[in-house]
């Protein structure tokens, strides 16, 4: 306990039969002009004696209670509004000119944060009320247990601000990133740049304060809309208030030092499908390209609810176990080596033709032809809809599994990818993270996965998709693995309850009135709801396991370039021609490569061959990229024949037209 301070009391606890003080709530009044407001932290100290008189009140002498203001009332001694009308003779101007102002009261309701002594738990005594100091805030929020321990685990999240006081508020890494509790959920209306900014600031804070004894940490951020996360390595604009807040929080205002960007190609297979295509920056973006192997592992993502049956599963397992990357005889005299979508489609055509020739139209190796057609359609569908992410026959390019770097951010930009492709990317990346973390082979000990738009991926209603099941799995098991979900959404009430329920830390930005009217917010007072509905950008309400009540904090703007500003400062480059794009990618690998040499090499060559050669070069990263590119590209005749022999994957028929 701290000694009574010299600061004057700002209020006094009152209790009546109708408004009694309880162990968890109390009322107090203040002067009409006061710094107290909703969310203010106050301290009731019965040891403070005011004008030299002994402290009096119910409860034990010496009891100290910390509370947070949850509601406020003001009223005068006016018996009925009609009397005010009578007094002013119906003229509002006259009411304002009355010689005496009516007596008014500012009556506040505070929820108890902490009592000392904690046992026996008793009603709040009728003591004097003080504004909390820095030390009081830390004590009220029980932060001293992780702020001043032998191995501190405190992560600055923002400043509690009230009446000129700016006290840092910390989260406990053990409860934010595991293993005690984990995950963070942030909700708020769109368009205020609060959710993304808050996560960016918090990531920066985590990277600077993640305790050494907890190991290495990285973050994987899915950029699902616009340029939000495309400029995390670029410094943003801060004002003096921001810098002061950074200083107060002890966080260095700097952009992320290590950011790796991944984005799929556009349909042309050479231009990156991202807004980070400014010539000065595009060199940092790695293509995200997956082949059949990568997709087949997550085929379930591609199947809609009606598709999920044992037969389809069995056939996909058959393809994975018996066909993929093996010499395989189709039973009609053909031998196939399936390594790509094109190879797989060749196999399917061979089987269907064989069945037709043999007059056996219904099954092949116990698999019904309808099941086979369905699986073929789904797999073909992804290569068509996500062309650029999924390569028909090129080499994959993936995140650095097993070589994640400490304090690095991996941004996977899927903003412009087909929703099905987004699901696939999300499912595969998270599954691989889990796989590697389970065997401690990722390169870091903990990974924060930031997913925006949880309303889309983990909606409370709607079908149980693979992505949703995976998010549930992370939410429930992730903290043991070091896989931490930072989810953001607009409507928390519409998120699967097990996803938000497992989030140890809940953050609220400005909320929609309709959202606040849902049952999940019934525990909040009307005043707190109104404050939430009008929160300015940069202010949040935080719930954390150590805090017995939600706390409002203000955080500085993240020190990174906001997506919108980034696009203005680094306007995306227009798509370049196929040849120019190939040149740029090769020059990125070796600046000595002369563009005209590359242009001559690829002239009259099939784009598929060029893409394949480029992918091989990119993956190998040899000392002489041009030589490897030339070698893989091969002779023009052979490559051209091979390319022409391959037919494009036919488009899907709609699900409704299927005969099953």
């Amino acid at each position: 306990m701290t000694e009574p301070r010299a600061a004057p009391a700002v209020g006094r606890v009152v209790a009546t039969e109708l408004k009694p003080a309880t162990p968890h709530q109390f009322y107090f009044w203040t002067a009409n002009e006061t710094t107290i407001g909703i969310g203010a932290i106050v301290k009731v100290d019965t040891r403070a004696t005011g004008n030299g008189q002994p402290a009096t009140g119910i409860g034990q002498p010496g009891r100290v209670v910390y509370g947070v203001v949850t509601d406020g009332f003001a009223y005068s001694d006016l018996a009925t509004p009609l009397h005010d009308v009578v007094g002013a003779e119906g003229d509002p101007e006259r009411a304002a000119q009355s010689p005496t102002a009516r007596q008014e009261i500012r009556l506040w309701v505070a929820a108890v944060l902490r009592q000392e002594p904690e046992e026996p738990l008793q009603p709040v005594p009728l003591g004097q009320v003080f504004v909390a100091t820095d030390a009081d805030v830390a004590h009220a929020l029980r932060m001293e247990t992780y702020l001043a321990s032998a191995q501190p685990t405190a992560i600055p999240v923002g400043l509690y601000t009230s009446g000129g006081l700016e006290a840092p508020v910390y989260l406990d890494a053990d409860f934010l990133l595991g293993p005690e509790a984990a995950h963070l959920n942030i909700s708020g209306v769109s368009g205020l740049a609060t959710k993304t900014s808050a996560v960016e600031f918090l990531l920066s804070s985590i990277f600077q304060y993640f305790p050494a004894h907890k190991g290495r940490i990285a973050a994987v951020c899915f950029n699902v809309k616009g340029p939000d996360l495309c400029f995390l390595d670029q410094p943003g604009t801060l004002d003096d208030d921001d810098r002061r807040r950074y200083e107060r929080l002890g966080v260095r205002p700097e952009p992320f030092g290590q950011v790796r960007y991944y984005a799929p190609f556009k349909a042309d297979g050479v231009n990156l499908n991202t807004l980070r295509t400014h010539p000065d920056l595009v060199g940092d973006v790695e293509p995200l390209v997956w082949g059949l192997q990568e997709v087949l592992d997550f085929a379930e993502v591609l199947l809609n609810r009606d598709d999920i049956d044992a037969k389809a599963d069995a056939f996909i397992d058959f393809l994975t176990d018996r066909v993929l990357n093996k010499e395989f005889e189709d039973g009609f005299g053909g031998t196939h080596s399936v390594q790509s979508f094109a190879d797989l489609d060749g196999l399917f055509r061979s089987i269907f033709n064989g069945l037709e020739m043999a007059g056996r139209g219904d099954s092949w190796r116990t698999h019904h032809i309808a099941t086979m057609r369905k699986v073929r359609n789904r797999l073909s569908n992804i290569s068509t809809r996500c062309k650029g992410l999924v390569t028909d026959d090129g080499l994959p390019n993936d995140l650095p599994w097993g070589a994640f770097e400490d304090r690095a951010v991996y941004v996977v930009d899927v903003a412009n990818v087909d929703p099905l492709g987004q699901d696939l990317v999300f499912a595969r990346v998270v599954s691989k993270l889990r796989e590697h973390l389970e065997r401690r082979g990722l390169g870091v000990d903990a990974v924060i996965v930031f997913v925006d738009e949880l309303n889309k991926y983990a909606a409370a209603d709607g079908p149980d998709t693979y992505v949703k099941k995976m998010l549930l799995d992370i939410s429930e098991r992730g903290r043991y693995l070091g896989l931490v979900l930072f989810g953001a959404e607009q409507f928390r009430s519409q998120i699967h309850r097990r996803v938000v329920g497992n989030a140890g830390t809940i953050v609220y930005g400005r909320m929609d009135y309709d959202e606040l009217a849902t049952p999940g917010y019934q525990v909040l007072s009307p005043a707190t709801k109104i404050k939430l509905a009008t929160l300015p950008a940069g202010e949040l309400m935080v719930r954390h396991p150590h805090f017995t009540q939600p706390i409002f904090v203000r955080f500085p703007r993240p020190a990174v370039l906001r997506g919108r500003d980034g696009v203005e400062r680094f306007p995306p480059a227009a798509d370049v021609s196929f040849g120019e794009a190939v040149v740029r990618q090769l020059v990125k690998l070796d600046r000595r490569i002369r563009p005209n040499v590359v242009q001559d090499l690829i002239a009259d060559r099939s784009p598929d061959d060029v893409r394949r050669a480029l992918a091989a070069t990119r993956q190998a990263r040899p000392e002489d990229p041009l030589a490897l590119f030339r070698r893989v590209l091969g002779s023009s005749v052979a490559a051209a024949v091979g390319a022409r022999a391959r037919e494009p994957v036919p488009p899907l028929t709609s699900i409704a037209d299927e005969p099953y």
Binding site: L78, A79, T80, D84, A88, S98, P99, T100, A101, R102
Partner: protein, 324 residues
């Protein structure tokens, strides 16, 4: 407190907790008095000056009295009395207390008390005020005498607070008090003091003049007159109607103003009345006397009530015998 309380009981007094209803307020003194017209030869009626405004800084004085029967020594009631007065100064439309006085005392007929009880009372450390000329009898007379003692104490503490305050009253400030200005020579002759009298038990006119005085329309005043009779010190006075009385009661919204007995008072009566009319807002509801009770006076009264000892209030709980 418990120790001397025990001592009084040990000496033979029986504890009691009777709070007479009349302990909460003062009683009107019924009186047929006389008045001398000052402003005109026949009592005139004048409209208030609508341009009259309140001085920028005005203080308001009021007092309260509380008493209850705390013990009985045989059939002799021993009364615990409490009186208080406060001056609250108004600046920027807000009232703040600048002077406050309180007095606790016991009141009893000393001669009727048994020696042990008297000794215990005297040793209690609380002032003991004698109620003279009351022999041991039915308690009604003693209680009426006690009420007079308490009221006298209240008037005295109000007077003292007012006199002390006006002694330092700045040149541009006024003092308005609830009650009679004529109780104090110092207050009665001060150029910037006013008294607003809400009770009209004293009758100063008769015949047409009485009718005119008590039926003046809203926002008018009577001519200034000099009250005679009980007034100890000379003051000027006039009636002022704050609210229309038609449809209510004859005395509804009617106050009597007292001010220094000086020609300047006559000259300023309409402007001062205009000022007092402005004091109608805010109305002092829920007090039943809101039609005559100025809000600042109501505020002083509320302040004093809030600070009064809780045990001086009438019991709102059952008077069933206690289980113990």
């Amino acid at each position: 407190m418990a120790r001397w309380n025990d001592a009084i009981i040990a000496a033979g007094a029986v504890p009691a907790s009777h709070v007479p209803e009349e302990s909460l307020g003062r009683a009107d003194l019924t009186e047929i008095a006389d008045a001398e017209l000052v402003e005109d030869r026949e009592l005139g009626v004048y409209p208030v000056d609508p341009t009259g405004v309140a001085p920028s800084t005005v203080s308001f004085l009021d007092g309260i009295q509380r008493w209850q029967v705390a013990y009985y020594d045989g059939v002799v009631p021993i009364v615990r009395g409490y009186v208080a007065a406060a001056v609250r100064r108004r600046t920027d439309r807000r009232l703040r207390t600048v002077r406050e006085a309180t007095r606790h005392f016991h009141a009893a007929a000393r001669t009727a008390l048994r020696p042990g009880v008297l000794a215990a009372l005297e040793e209690s450390g609380v002032e003991l005020v004698d109620i003279p000329d009351v022999a041991a009898a039915q308690p009604g007379r003693a209680l009426e005498a006690a009420r007079r003692v308490v009221e006298g104490a209240r008037v005295a503490i109000e007077k003292d607070a007012g006199e002390r305050y006006v002694a330092t009253l700045p040149a541009d400030e006024w003092l308005v008090l609830d009650g009679l200005l004529s109780e104090s020579a110092l207050l009665a002759r001060h150029p910037r003091t006013l008294a607003v009298v809400k009770s009209h038990a004293a009758q100063y006119f008769e015949g047409d003049a009485l009718t005119r005085a008590l039926t003046i329309p809203a926002l008018t005043r009577t001519g200034v007159f000099r009250p005679r009779g009980r007034a100890r010190h000379e003051v000027y006075s006039w009636y002022l109607r704050l609210w229309p009385w038609e449809g209510n009661d004859l005395l509804f919204g009617l106050v009597r103003v007292e001010a220094r007995a000086d020609q300047a008072t006559v000259a300023a009566a309409s402007a001062v009345s205009g000022w007092l009319v402005r004091e109608r807002a805010p109305v002092s509801t829920p007090d039943a006397r809101w039609d005559r009770l100025l809000y600042p006076i109501h505020d002083v009264e509320n302040y004093l009530k809030a600070r009064a000892p809780r045990d001086s209030l009438p019991l709102r709980t059952s008077r069933f015998p206690r289980a113990s």
